[in-house]
Amino acid sequence: MSSYEARFKVWRGDAQGGDLEDFKVEVNDGEVVLDIIHRLQATQAPDLAVRWNCKAGKCGSCSAEINGRPRLMCMTRMSVFERDETITVTPLRAFPVVRDLVTDVGFNYQKAREIPSFVPPEGLGPGDYRMFQEDVDRPQEFRKCIECFLCQDTCHVVRDHEENKQAFAGPRFLMRVAELDMHPLDAAEETGLDRGRTAQDEHGLGYCNITKCCTEVCPEGIRITDNALIPLKERAVDRKYDPLVWLGNKIRRRS
């Protein structure tokens, strides 16, 4: 096993201020960035705050920005960097910082609460649901989301414009709207809830300019833009901008 000494810059501080701090730290074969952060904690900075849990890319806790790119620390191998490269690790830059690498991601929970949940179909009890695989393939892709919020962090709509946080739910939660709107048994429409319309009117779908950064950073490889956001935009067009669809619906309803 070979090892070397890597140079790191890690952001230390809190809401009152902070700075990048330099470290030299041992790196061994097969290690990931989170291992190095743990070694820093163990040997040089015992009070370094970092959020982590599974170390397997499934809990979505250790999101950070490594050399300026939103990534999971546990899924970023040290072997992708040059040995003489200085590696910079900062907290997510779209959310308020708590301390060191830990940010307050409460914005995302607020947005999650604003989306009406699955509406069970009338007359079917738990255990009675029957669905075809081809009907659930699309929502199942979105269920792979581990809620690391890297897509929310990288989306320039809120990252570069704090003032848009009120109006824009972000890619993760627009994807949630898409998931429910594509769910074969969701009965929201029967209760008068038009999810396609609310995506635009209440969750800020129009702010998305489909520049695909959410898809680029997704550690689960979910095609957020192509499979959730653009289909949602097309559904909004169906409802608001396509007179042919509007006319067709009118005629169908009358007959």
């Binding site: 952001w11 501080g13 201020g17 902070g18 990048l20 920005e65 050399n67 300026g68 790119r69 939103p70 490269e85 910079t88 900062t90 907290p91 830059r93 779209a94 959310f95 308020p96 910082v97 940010t103 075809f132 081809e134 009907d135 393939d137 962090d153 990288t154 320039h156 990252r159 570069d160 414009h161 704090e162 003032e163 848009n164 946080k165 009120q166 594509m182 769910h183 074969p184 800020g204 129009g206 702010y207 998305c208 300019n209 489909i210 520049t211 950064c213 680029e216 950073v217 192509d226 653009i230 289909p231 935009k233 097309e234 559904r235 909004a236 067009v237 169906d238 608001k240 901008y241 396509d242």
Partner: protein
């Protein structure tokens, strides 16, 4: 109830008060600028070339080939093309290049295309220039307001693009003639036209609006097996939408340039049979 005393949202980006205090607008160390710069350069080159050719109003027909920029030719001033796409809908009053009439449709299709939107928002408008690289604009409303809300008419341009692709297919069939209009011949130009039309169709059918219309709007694929199959097929093409967008942009420019070279007498079309 709004009382007017609610806290107003703070404006700003990555350097906003409560976020980690880092002065740099980004900390990326890779060559993040390369992709938007290359995209902008490629699109700009096409805009310059197509503007020159669209306004040139010359060298767009060399029997049996008609430039895709001038097809269909809808004004009286168009060069007569035997059995070709001459329809004088606009009559004699149209005083400038007839290419302008028809190019508005493919231009609108590509301008509102979901891939090209990404490309020019990043390449020309830096909104954002690259992922996690701060954009230079103070305000951002995306596609919620005029004029960008008009991006929602993409599907109408898709319908028009289907018609234009149909006419270019007709032109490709006509390219199986020789310069004396005799059928059953093929030259290098025929091959150029064939490649172009395949790429044009592939790009048009890989469109996100097409994917939605053929099946994406359905909630129960199991009740519509034919549309489900079509959706799957378009989905496979759609995964390559960016590559097809560039390939078809290049091929349509090349097909036009080939006609220009033959029509202006730079060389004769090599005939295979």
């Amino acid at each position: 109830m709004a009382t007017g005393t609610e806290p107003q949202p703070v404006s700003g980006g990555v350097r906003t008060g409560t976020r980690a205090a880092i002065d740099a607008p980004h900390l990326r160390t890779d060559r993040w600028w390369l992709a938007p710069a290359a995209t902008a350069a490629g699109l700009l080159a096409f805009v310059v070339y197509s503007t020159w050719r669209a306004f040139a109003d010359a060298d767009y027909y060399a029997a049996p080939y008609v430039s895709p920029f001038y097809s269909p030719c809808l004004a009286e001033r168009c060069e007569p093309m035997r059995a070709g796409p001459n329809w004088e809908i606009f009559g004699g009053w149209w005083g400038i290049s007839p290419a302008i009439i028809i190019l508005i449709f493919p231009l609108g299709f590509r301008l509102t295309c979901y891939y090209y939107r990404k490309a020019y928002y990043r390449g020309f408008w830096a909104s954002p220039p690259a992922c996690a690289v701060a954009e230079p604009h103070k305000k951002y409303t995306g596609e919620t307001r005029f004029p960008l809300i008009l991006q929602n008419i993409h599907r109408y341009f898709f319908y028009a693009a289907i018609l234009v692709a149909g006419i270019l297919t007709y032109d490709t069939v006509l390219a199986f003639r020789d310069e004396h209009y005799a059928w059953g011949h093929m030259g290098l130009g025929t091959l150029v036209f064939l490649v172009n039309i395949v790429l044009i169709w592939a790009y048009t059918l890989s469109c996100h609006s097409c994917r939605h219309i053929v099946g994406g709007k359905l909630r129960h694929f199991s009740k519509h097996p034919v549309r489900y199959r079509m959706w799957q097929w378009v989905g496979k093409l759609n995964a390559r939408h960016m590559q097809l967008a560039w390939a078809s942009l290049l091929s349509v420019a090349l097909a036009d340039f080939y006609v220009y070279l033959v029509a202006s007498g730079v060389f004769d079309d090599p005939r295979f049979f």
